[in-house]
Each structure stands twice: as C-alpha cells, then as structure tokens.
Amino acid sequence: MIKTETGVKQGIEATDEVLIARFQQGDNYAFDLLVKRYKDPLLNFVYRFLGEKNDAEDIVQETFLRLFKNKHYYKEIAKFSTWIYTIAGNLAKTELRKRKRHSLFSISHYMSTEKDYEIPDESGSPERDANSVITDKIIQKAINKLSPKFKQVIVLRDIQGFSYEEITGIADIPLGTVKSRVNRARLKLQEDLKHLMNDV
C-alpha cells in the first residue's frame, strides 16, 4: 500500500489525483509515490505493446520524465491513470512507427524464432512451470502480430483490466469502437492461438 508522508501517519492511502495535486504544488515526494505506483503497470502495458522489455523501460522512463516536466498540464477533468496511460500509449505508438520507418521490423517477427521475444522475468514466481512460460511467449508473439490499434485495446482490456469507458479515454476513440476493436482483437488472437487451445 502506498501512502503519502502524511497519509502514512494517518493510515490513509492517497488517491492518484491527490498525489498529482501535491506534486503540482511542489511536493516531489508525491512524484516518487506516483512512480512507485505506476512503473510496473505501465511497464507491463508498454512491454505487451512493444514486445521488448528494454525499449518498454525507456518508454516508461520517458513517460515519467514528461510527467515531471509537464505536471501542470494535468487537469483534474480526467483520471490521472487515463492521462498517464495516454502518454505512455502515444509514446509506444510513436516507437512502433519509428521501428517501421527504420526497417527494424525484421522478417523474424513473422517467423518462429525465440529471439523475437524477451522472456519475462520469473524470479518472483518460482511455482510457474515451463508450460506457462511457453504459453506466455506464444501469446506475446500473437499480440505482436496485431496492429497497434488492436494491440492497445486488447492489452488495456484483457491484460490490464481497464473498463471500456476508461479505454475510451486512453485511446481517445468512441465506446462502440473500443468494444468492436476488443472483440475483433480477441477473434484474431483466438484464430492465431487455436493450436495452443487445442493442445491444452
């Protein structure tokens, strides 16, 4: 549980919006707490989006750097999580476009090689068996094949657990489009992962 300095004493967990307000007023400790609260969720989001952990870390760092520089741009009309995920998502999309432009999108993305993916760090979950690791890799490979617009919504909805309404805010698309894209992304994935499902 993350608490502010005052909150720790009072046993109250500060909301994101309280923390960003405090940070806007010059309390850098609130920034620390926001980083601690969001670095792993954002990293997972961007990692699933890009399929590469080092690049994902760079993107998340850039996201926090922008938060630090542009803290006053945040207005409390939106949830802080929506705002920070929007920044991270836009940076991730830009990174994907950059890769495409610079032809870094190698043919290996379409082949079955293990070099394409970084194996998630499993040190924190020793009980996981080899099958789960393989399943994760296969799933990530299928996600990598999706176009960015499908990737974004499926990661936010099914991996990160956001509501459709929240995704609307992050992706800046209408609710109907979000629902339609999530469904289509799921259908594409299940088509690609049929063999996995039949094996299990």
């Binding site: 850098n28 998340v60 998630p120 996981r128 799933i139 629902k179 299940q190 992962l193």
Partner: protein
C-alpha cells in the same frame, strides 16, 4: 454476412453478459446448434483467461536510478545560465546608466519646475558650480541612483528567484528503493 459472423461480432458482449435478454437468448440458441461458433466461443473464454494471467514483468533495479539521472539532467538543461560575463555586462550597463542619469540631473537639462527636495540644497565642495535653485540634493540623487541601479538589477534578481522557485531539491527526489 452469415449469421455466424453476426454472432461472432457479439461474442465478447455475450461473454461479458452485457447483451439485452432477447439478443442473449438468440446467441445462446445459435451456439447450441453451431459447433464452429461454440468452439470459437470456448476459445475466447480460454484466451481471455490466459491474457488475465500472463506473467507480469517488473522494472529493472536500475530503473529508479536511471530516471533520477534523467530528471537531474533535465533540471540542469532548464536552469538559466548566469555567467560572470553576463553579470559584468549587466553591472557595467547599470553603472553607465546611473552615471548618465547623475549627469543629466545635475546639469542644465534639469527642468526648472522640479522641486523634489524642499530643503535648501547642500553645497558640494568638490563641485565648481553652485547649486541651482530647485536642483535635487546629492542625498536625493544618491537615493535615485540607488533606486535606478536597483531597477537595473531587478531582472537578474527575478531570474535568480525564478531559478530558486523552480529549482527542485534533488535530494528530495528519492525515487523509492534507492
């Protein structure tokens, strides 16, 4: 578009139980009679469960330190540069302006109707000419010069203050776990 395609479009909504009762009932009937759509539906359920349980990745141990370094660099880039040369130019200009001001206020350019100091002018021994009636006294002149000089210094002070106000205490950016 076949009815199967229509059903597929609604499978996520069916799975999340957000359809109206009538549509839900139609989908249910179709799934009972269509093995292909039933398989697709089973795959979707399996897939969403797997996606919910993918292994999370954690930030590296260097994450906080790297971020801290980037923030410090960012702050350095934003800091206004007040070099000794800039400062000396500013002070030279201030002195020159002060001298000019002093010269004009003590010479014939002084308007006759200015009566700032009601007290009799103080004689200055070093001055070859006697003070004119209505001229500003040396003490007043000195204070005016100081005032002007302060005005000239003001931008530099504002910069310094702005610098202080935005200067982040880097020791406070602990970025937990360091």
């Amino acid at each position: 578009m076949s009815y199967c395609d229509t059903v597929k479009d609604l499978l996520s909504a069916y799975m999340e139980d957000v359809l109206d009762p009538e549509t839900k009932s139609k989908i249910q009937s179709h799934l009972e009679g269509c093995p292909a759509c039933r398989q697709t539906y089973a795959n979707l359920q399996f897939l969403t469960q797997k996606l919910r349980n993918v292994s999370p990745v954690a930030a590296s141990e260097e994450f906080d330190q790297k971020l801290r370094s980037k923030i410090i660099n960012e702050r350095r880039e934003q800091e206004p540069v007040i070099s000794i040369r800039n400062l000396s130019y500013g002070l030279s200009g201030a002195v020159a302006l002060a001298c000019a001001y002093f010269f004009f206020m003590t010479d014939s350019f002084t308007p006759a109707n200015i009566s700032v100091d009601p007290q009799p002018p103080v004689k200055i021994s070093s001055s070859p000419s006697s003070p004119k009636p209505g001229a500003i006294s040396v003490s007043k002149q000195t204070s005016l010069v100081k005032e002007e000089s302060n005005k000239l210094k003001q931008p530099i002070e504002i910069d310094t203050l702005r610098d202080k106000s935005t200067n982040i205490d880097q020791d406070k950016i602990i970025l937990v776990d360091q």
